[in-house]
Structures are given as C-alpha cells and as structure tokens.
Symmetry: C2
Subunit: 671 residues, 2 copies
C-alpha cells in the first residue's frame, strides 16, 4: 500500500499551476487554463507512475508522454523543470521569447523531454498511436524470454479539441482495432472551449464513443483528485488488451476568478486574476515563479528513480547482449536510425537497360520489396489502397494484435491519421515508416506532413496516381496544385521520378534523408524505362536535377525541363526538334528542393543562364515554374481542373503530346 | 397498407445493377461492387419515399440525395436515367468518357440531379450535414402556420470508407449535437474495403459510435431486402429529434462470382464475371444496357409523382405569396442567391481617413456585422475560434435546435467538417455560408476547399492570424506555404487585404464571386488604415492589384509589390527611398487570381514591363513570386518555418523592416 503526503502533493500541484500562471503572465500571452486544471493528474502520473530518466531523455525504454493539448505547454515545461530535466527556471521565465527553449507550443528538438511537436489539435493523439504501434513492433522483434527490453506505456493528455478533431477519431478507431493495450489517454473533460461551453458544438458521449472503438473507458473521475487519478492509472495499466481512455473532469483555470470559462483558456489571467488565484489556492503572491524547496526536493527524486530504472534496464541489456548478441547490435542500430550495411543491395539490378515500360508505382513496389529484405526497420502501408499503390511487403505479415511483428500496416481510409501515426512511429524510432495513398489525398494529410517537416523526421510518403493521366476517376482524383503545394512546405522533399530507374534513386534519397520527410510522386500509368547506357545515369536525381540528354555538344539552343511522366514526353519532343537541326537539351528535374540546394555552378551547368529558350513540362499547375523557365520561357502545365476520361485522352486533350511541345518550341524559337 | 410487386421490384433492382455492370464493362474502368450491393436500398428509397421531380431537378422543396460513396456513381446515373431525369441511355454508355455527362465520380453541374460532387470519401457526408443545417434554417425563416414551404429530408448513402474518414466523424458529432432530425444516412455495411475485410483496420461498432453522437441507429438490417429497408426508412422519417443512421448489411458485387471480396470494388467484372453475374441473378446476357419495358414504365412514374408533388407545393406557394408577399419574394431571391438591394449599405463609412490602426480580422468583424444587417442569408461561424477570428454576428443568435433561425454556427474544433458543411449549405442554397479559423488550419480543410472550387460555389473562408506576425504561438501556428498553396487551387480566389479599407473590398469581392469560393486572409495584429484621400482608392482590390502610391510622376525606377500587412511596410520603405530621390511605386497586390484575369494592358500599367527593379514583400514563402518580380527582381519572404516570439520581434528578425527593404532596394539599384 502506497501512502502519500497530501499536503506535499498539493504544494507540488500548485507549484505547477503557478509556474504556468506566472510564465504566461510574464510572456503576456499563453494558455494558463489547462495547466491549472490538469496539474493534479499530470503530477500524479509523473510522480507515481511514469518511467523516465530526466538525465537521459532518450532512454529507449522510457514511457512516452505526449501533450496532445499542446497549448498547455507550460504544464509540460513545469514538469520538465521540476523533475530535473535540463531546463532551468530561467528558461521558464523566457517562455515564448525569441530563441528560448520554451516556445509557445512544445517543439521537438528545442526542449529536452519533449517527444513530439504539438499544438495543431489531434496530432499528438495520432502520434501516440504511432508510438504504441512502434513499441509493439519493437517489442515483438526484440523482446525475448526474460528480456523485456521494450516494455512501457504511451501516455497522452488530450483536450476537448483533440477529441473533436477527426484525426483523433480515425486514430482511436485504428488503436481499438489493433488493441493497443500500451496506450493510455487522459481526456481532460473540462466542458469548456474557446467559444464557451462545449455544449454549443460537442454534446456527444465521448466515453461511449471510445467503447465503440474497442477501448477500455475509465471514469469520468475527478481529474483534480490524486486518489482517483491514481486508481484510474492503475486500472489502465492492468488492461493490456485494449487501449484505455481515462475521462477526467477538471476545472479549467482552477482557482482563478474566471475558472470554468472560456476566458482562462488562451489569455493571461492578468495581474489581478493571478493574485486572486494565488489567494484562492493559498499560494504566496511573491516571489513569482516560486517553487518551495520541498517541492523541488520531492519532485527531483524523479532523477534517482529514473537513473535507477535505467540502470536496471542497462543491466538487463548487458545480459541480452550476451545471450542475443546479434539482436542487441541490431536493436541499437535500429534505434540510432542507421541503415544496415548493404541496405541498397539489389537495387541496381532491378531495371536494366531494355526493361519494358512500367508504372513508377509498380517500380516503387519492387524497390520496397528489395529494401524490405535488407532493412528490417522498414514498415508501413496504405490508406486502404495497398493494391493500387503497390506498397505491400511480400511475406511481411500484417501488423495486428495477432501478428505484432507484421510489417504491413492497414491504416484504413484514414489518410490524416496515417500521416500522424507515421510521425509517431518515426519519433519513437527503431522503425522507418512509410505511408501510401493517391497524391490527391495528400490534401487529407497536410497537417502531419507539415509537422514531419517541422520536426525534421524521416517519414516516406508514397503518393501514386499523380496526374490527369490517371484518367477515368476524374477531377476529384486528379492532382493539379498538389505538387506545388508540397514543394512549398519548408524542409519537405518532394520527388517525382521520371521512370523506374529514377524511382530507385528516389527511394534511396528518401531513406538517406534523415532530417525531414520525403514524398515520392508516382504514376498509375506505365512509363518507358530510360536507357541509362545512352542517357545520363539516374543518380543525377540525388542532385535534384540533371542533364538527361542533349542532341549535340555545346550550349543548347533550347531546353526542355520536365519531371515524372513528362520526361519521356520531353525526350520524344526533343528528338523531333533535334531532327529539325536544333541543339536540344532535356533536363530531368525530379526534385526542386534538392536542386535548389546545389551550388550555383552546378545549377548553372544544368540550366545555363544564357539559354533563355526554355520550356517546362509538367502535367500540373504551371505556377512556380517561372523560377526555372525564366522570363522568356514557357511553362506547359494545367491551370484548371482535370476531367474524367481515359488517361491517354486527357493527356492529349491537355496538350501533353510531342507534337504540341514541338509546336510550342518552334514558336518560342521564332520558327 | 402499401403493397408491392416483388417480381417487378426485383426486375428494377437488377436493371440498376446491370446498367452499372455494363457501363463499367464498357468503360473498362469503374466501380461495379457498390451499385450491385446497394441497388435494392436505393431503389426502395427512390421508388417509395423520396420526393423529387425528375423534370425539375432544382425544385427547392425536393428531398436531397447525396451519394457520399461517390465511386458508386453508376448507381446514381442508373437511378437518374430510370426515373426520368434528363439523362439518356447513350449518356450511360458514355460512362467515364471525354465530355460525357457521366463522369467517373458524380460532378455537380455536369449531370442533372447530381446535388454535389463526391468521390473523396467523407465529403458527401459532411455536405449532407450542411444541407440539413440550411434546410432547418430556411424552414425557420420561411415556414409559417399552414405553410411548410421547406419540409423534406436529406438522404445520404455512405460507405465503410466514409465512416472511417475523420471528416464524417466530425460532421456526425455536430449533427447529433444539433439534433438534425431531417437527416437520414444509409450506411452500406458491406464489410469489404480495397485491402480486403474491413476487419484489418475497422473493427469498431459503428452503431454504438453513432448512438454516442446522439443519433437514432436503426439496424443492422438486410440492406438488400426491400421490406426491411422500407420499414427502416419509415422509422427514420418518424424520428424528428435526432438524425438517423440505417445500418444496411449488403453484399458488395452481389451476384458476381467474386461477390463479397475487394476485387469487385473498383474494377470491371470482366466479360466472364459479368456473364456469370447475369446468369446468377437471372438476367439476360444480351442486349447489354438492357432495361425491360416494365422497369422503365414503373420507375418513370417518378415523373408524375414528382410533378404532382411540385404542383401541390406550387399551389401552396401561391397562397403563401398572398399571405406573406414579402417573405415569398425574399424566399425566392435567397434561393436565387441574389444579394438584396443595398446589400453593401454602410460599408463605405466604416473606415474613413484618419481611422486608427485596426487588425484586418477586427475590420472583417465590423464588415460581417454591417453585411449581416443587409443580407439575411449570411450565416456562418468558426471552428471554435469566433472570439479570435471576430466572426460573430451580434444578436444573430446561435444556430441550434432551440434557435433554428440562429445565424452563428458553432462548428467546434472541426475545421474539416466545417469546410464540408459549408459546401453543403452553399449547394443547398438560400443561405450564404462563411467559415473561420486561423490560416494555418486551412491545412485541415483542404479537401472541401478544393471541392468548393471544383463545384464553383460561393463559400467565404475567413482565415486570420495570417503570418509569423501572430507571434508567440510559434511555428505550428505560423503559415508559410499556405498562401501559395491556396493560390494554386484552380478557381479559388485568395485575397489578402492590406488594411481595413481593403478588407471591406475583399468581403465585397467574396460575395460577388458566385462561381467559386473566396478565402480572406487577415491579420491578428493591428495595421494602419491607409488614407484613401492621399492614396489610391481601395476598390482597386477588385482588379486584384493596383498602384497604391507613387512618389513622383512617370515611369518609376523601382517598384515595391506587397500584400496584406506588408503593404504598410512597403509604403514606409517607399517613402524613405523617395526621400533619397528615387521614383518609387508601391503596388498592393492582394489577389493574384483577380489580377491575372485582368487584360494585359491593365496589368502592364500596374507593373510596367520595362521596370525591372522589383521587390515583392510578403511574410510567407517567396516561391511563386518570380512571376511578378521577374528575373532581375527580389522576392522578400520566408523560406523556413517561423518561431515562437512576440510578433514584432519575429517581424524584425525575419527582415520585415523598412530598413531592410531599403537596403535590399539600394543593392538592387546598385547604390
């Protein structure tokens, strides 16, 4: 039987609350309400249950804590400071200031102990499902009798807003299907949102909804009562066959005169309000940022607990390394995100010169299977489109409760959760996740794609059916603006390979990009395999763009610049123009991001500035191509929606024929 | 007691099935499975319950039918043809061909009787909630004792995929909260998705989930048994206080040798498969596209039923016009989407010269309230951000079951459903919907924004907190790539006004744009109100871009081109450059889409081609600005993520100061 000092607990809880209040007050902006309401439940979790080592935030077997309600960042910063992470009171005083380690919403990489970047609601929830997936996968692959090297929980704090967002519905449904018993979510049910009572928009029975998903639902409990929270966590930990939702009734802005209203959500309490709150909860008005010694002393015991737990695990790992030396090496290598020696073995032979035409989606399927043989960490799947996106790992098994080592994920028709889950998998580590859907449905998963870029994590997004050439499914399925939209996301690497051989290189680039996500844009339709014995090698893709072919030596008279399926079209048109006596260069430019990173002299060697006759060819919006075609060039594209018709018909009707390209080139050359 | 001819019913149902099979066969692509499984339930609905006039698809008081499972387009086309809409058997034979009226997925505007464009899953579901909202609103505003001029149902056919998508979870939760008893959804529970059994990813209890949302849940019933379907619809119609979900067990591809597998979802059955299916269901093999005379005769009775129903309604309207002449006029005007005379009354006086600085979000709030007084049809709201987006209509009331005439929608933290619901409201007509959230969260609602553009419907999207200047909330909340991303959507009009006076014009442009959606991009921070007595009038915005100010006559030496908050910065920098003796022009370019539509001579008058010294200034990705700054210009922007810090600090750190602009200008001019 555990016993606790109720007075000390309250001191700790109030210390958390008022660090949040004072930090928000000092920053003159922020969200005091949620930290004040959830301090008790978070304290109970961090003080009594959670397994973590503040001196080693990267300890692989730690419990994860995801603050899906990212606006409550000060709750997390207070916990990190009080439990002894590398975060000072001065850092907290710099809350929300330029260059500080305590930004407005938690940002992975800025603050030790922050597992993922949150703020856009629902994303942390989705990430947590990905972490629970990765943890189960790693446990299956690496745990052995007497060696539970991966055994811990994923904890999440989620708000009303998180529950309202569709992405968490999607993720919760999948978590229930997968019976992720290692996942425990606190739902901060404070009945208040920015526009007032949640009754205005949100009267559903959240508990019944999660029961329907297959979750264990605990509560509603009093989330500000440590005894109830303690019991609920215990109950959640015991249930291993279902994820658990603990519904916690709390009072937003507890203690403030405006408690339980929307006003305390996202604004400082104000000097008067802060004073009143301190008065109401028996907290000294001065100094601000006050932390009683006994609070720090008590909560910093987390360091000793954590170091002791990690030591025990390290000892276990020593035994493991003796009994399973190869597994131990592999475990550590996967956690470091390393690709095994020979990871690209077999790729070079996949598409020799003379290979018959193949869709880049199919080429990608072959690449995935070659890579999967070499890279055990590779796992992923599609949003119910595996047969179309060609993303199944043969004999990889289906990831499920029955087959926890399975490498094929079945995300269901849930693109948004798919992206968010993949982010969680990548941040967990050990696995290298990929997702797959049609390019048009990238629109459903923009928020997690952006967060992957912001966090700088390796996720591979496979996007097939990449243009009007997909044909009959029509304009609802035909991307136009998606390529530009994704190219403009900072740190997002979008690659549209020209053929099977560039697809091999694109996958290589994606796996080698450890500091951000990569999108692979692939065709539904077959494309000729470019003969690399007569054309430049495909590894030019690694520089983003390269001279694929030129009809004669010297400075070309005209350049055709294309990506993806339009590269073969450019070659066909180029040959005709060459037949007319022109010196024509065809440039394959599969990746703007990589190309723009090259030194000027390389870029100028591919696109010599003095050559002003330039035509870009891409079956998508021409917007943005001005940067490559320049003021005298022409961007051939599609500035309207597509049409339902067979792909070749669309392609022709929209001007993607050698004849049309030649015509445009002739007029550009004034012939 | 109704009695039916079971044999005739079966003939009709099979006629629908095999029109779908044959059309897909002929097109060599398409989705036969769902029409084959759902033909019986759709037939029962259309033959016995649904109120519609095939000869007047726009009859305002018709029931709406939304095929959220848009891939089952052939089901809808078969129904439209068989019940007598303006669609021929030849149209059906042209399924999925260039220029046909039977595209791969239903497209509003292409086919009479298609209410909304569907295909991207979950969207139709969201649209239907919007239609139910609009119907309730119109009924509240226009129905009077003895005159139920708006009284009908919204029917939806939704698939497993629709149920898995988060947008439908969001919309369903709101529909439950709003107690939309006029909404009846058939859930085609066929247990099959593209990757196989739905068990792989979707084991939740959908019925229990909808009960948790506050819906009436009927079934599971045998969705291929007309008697059970008949009873279920009756039960659904009786319930007026809750939306109804009818769970229909069906067999995908019923009759095909591959029935109840993923194979029949999205591919032709093949000649052999089609033959076997016809054999199995007792259908003649030849001719293809066979419709027995008695089927056509029976189903075309829909015309007489529909005309009679519409006549009765017209008669009612005649009485209504006598008893409520003003209401009748207003009703018709609103349905036509007309703006009332004097709709912009009061706008011109809102921000006179000398007005103090105001955020464009606040200016927009004033405009909304001025417009709301003049335009009864205007209604909308925010994704739980009304206080921040300033989108509340004062005294407009909160739309709810208690206040069905309320004009303020509370969408909850559900941006995706918000966009989708607004599309449904716009397509219903009578109301002019607007939505609101932070610009960054446009990422959550991309799919419905695109569909609004594709359908060409008037929806106004208010987006505030439009740049790194929002400050402390940090990079998760700071748009960088969103402006370009939205500008590149065909038929989407994105406007970023420079100040309060341009905000007035932006709202005008949005309401006058009846053929597509408009996004208004607004600041969190205050901006000076440009003095229009010394600068060009704000109505230049209607042309997308205009010369706001120039320091001297004649051709300028340098041009500063800016949007939104950066226009005042450009003016400040321009004045300094003028002080140094330069002839400087400042161009406000709030809307690329409108500017690009202007004749060349206008565009050249604003941006004279001979002036090569150009600087664009926008606190967002510089990508895409090449088209306006040209090869010798400079695009000042932000090509990385933002930062958590006070807005003015960010603004300065990222180079948005007059000093920096002047410096860049000087270097550009070689000084």
């Amino acid at each position: 039987m555990k016993t606790y000092d109720a007075h000390l607990d309250e001191l700790c809880i109030n210390a958390i609350r008022f660090l949040a209040v004072d930090a928000v007050e000092q920053a003159k902006s922020g969200h005091p309400g949620t930290p004040m309401g959830t301090a008790a439940l978070a304290y109970t979790l961090w003080d009594r249950f959670m397994k973590y080592n503040p001196h080693d935030p990267q300890w692989p077997n730690r419990d994860r804590f995801i603050l899906s309600a990212g606006h409550a960042s000060m709750l997390l910063y207070a916990l990190l400071y009080l439990t002894g992470y590398d975060l000072t009171l001065d850092d907290i005083k710099q809350f929300r200031q330029w260059g500080s380690r305590t930004p407005g919403h938690p940002e992975f990489g800025h603050t030790p102990g922050v597992e993922v970047t949150t703020g856009p609601l629902g994303q942390g929830f989705g990430n947590s499902v990905g972490m629970a997936v990765a943890a189960r996968s790693m446990a299956c692959h690496f745990n052995r009798p007497n060696y539970a090297v991966v055994e811990h929980f994923i904890y999440v704090l989620a708000s009303d807003g998180d529950m309202e967002e569709g992405v968490s519905s999607e993720a919760a449904s999948l978590a229930g299907t997968l019976q992720l018993g290692n996942l425990i979510v606190f739902y901060d049910d404070n009945e208040i949102s920015i526009e007032g009572s949640t009754d205005a928009a949100f009267r559903e029975n959240v508990g019944a909804r999660f029961t329907a998903y297959g979750w264990q639902v605990i509560g509603p409990i009093d989330g500000m009562n440590t005894i109830e929270v303690d019991a609920a966590i215990g109950q959640a930990q015991i249930e291993t066959a279902r994820p658990s939702l603990i519904i916690c009734r709390t009072t937003i802005g507890y203690g403030s005169p405006e408690q339980a209203t929307g006003k305390v959500h996202g604004e400082p309490l104000g000097a008067e309000g802060a004073t009143a709150a301190k008065h109401n909860l028996g907290w000294p008005l001065e100094p601000t940022f006050y932390v009683p010694d006994e609070v720090l002393q008590h909560m910093r015991q987390a360091v000793e607990r954590g170091e002791s737990a990690e030591r025990a695990w390290q000892q276990q790992m020593e035994g493991y390394a003796k009994d399973y030396p190869e597994l131990a090496i592999q475990f550590n290598a996967q956690l470091r995100g390393e690709l095994p020696a020979g990871w690209d073995h077999g790729l070079a032979e996949l598409f020799p010169a003379g290979s018959k035409a193949v869709a880049t989606r199919s080429a990608s399927g072959k690449v995935i299977n070659a890579l999967a043989k070499n890279i055990p960490a590779l796992m992923g799947g599609a949003g119910d489109l595996a047969p179309s996106t060609k993303t199944l790992i043969d004999d990889g098994g289906d990831f499920s409760v029955e087959e926890p080592c399975g490498r094929n994920m079945h995300f269901g028709v849930r693109e948004h959760a798919m992206g968010s889950i993949a982010n969680g998998m990548a941040r967990y580590g050990g696995v290298i996740p990929y997702t797959a859907t049609f390019l048009i449905f990238s629109d459903y998963m923009r928020p997690p794609m952006r967060l992957a870029a912001l966090m700088g994590i390796r996720v591979v997004h496979v996007f097939t059916h990449d243009s009007i050439a997909l044909g009959e499914d029509g304009p609802t399925h035909q991307p136009i603006e998606q390529l530009l939209g994704l190219r403009s996301v900072p740190n997002y690497t979008l690659i549209r390979p020209a053929d099977a051989t560039e697809t091999v290189e694109a996958w290589k680039a994606a796996l080698l990009n450890t500091t951000g996500p990569t999108g692979l844009v692939l065709t539904r339709q077959n494309l000729p395999v470019i003969d690399r014995t007569t054309h430049a090698p495909a590894n030019g893709l690694q520089r983003g763009g390269y001279v694929l072919w030129q009809s004669a030596d010297g400075i070309p008279q005209i350049m055709l610049i294309a990506t993806g399926s339009e590269v073969s079209l450019a070659l066909a048109a180029g040959e005709r123009l060459a037949g007319d006596g022109m010196n024509v260069r065809v440039v394959s430019l599969p990746c703007w991001a990589l190309f723009d990173k090259q030194p000027t002299d390389y870029r100028d060697s591919v696109l010599p500035p003095q050559v002003r006759a330039r035509i870009s060819i891409e079956a998508a919006t021409p917007m943005g191509w001005e940067r490559y075609v320049g003021p005298d060039g022409i961007a051939l594209g599609i500035d309207h929606f597509g049409s339902s018709a067979p792909g070749p018909v669309n392609y022709e009707k929209f001007g993607f024929t050698p004849e049309h390209v030649v015509e445009v080139a002739m007029s550009l050359m004034g012939r």
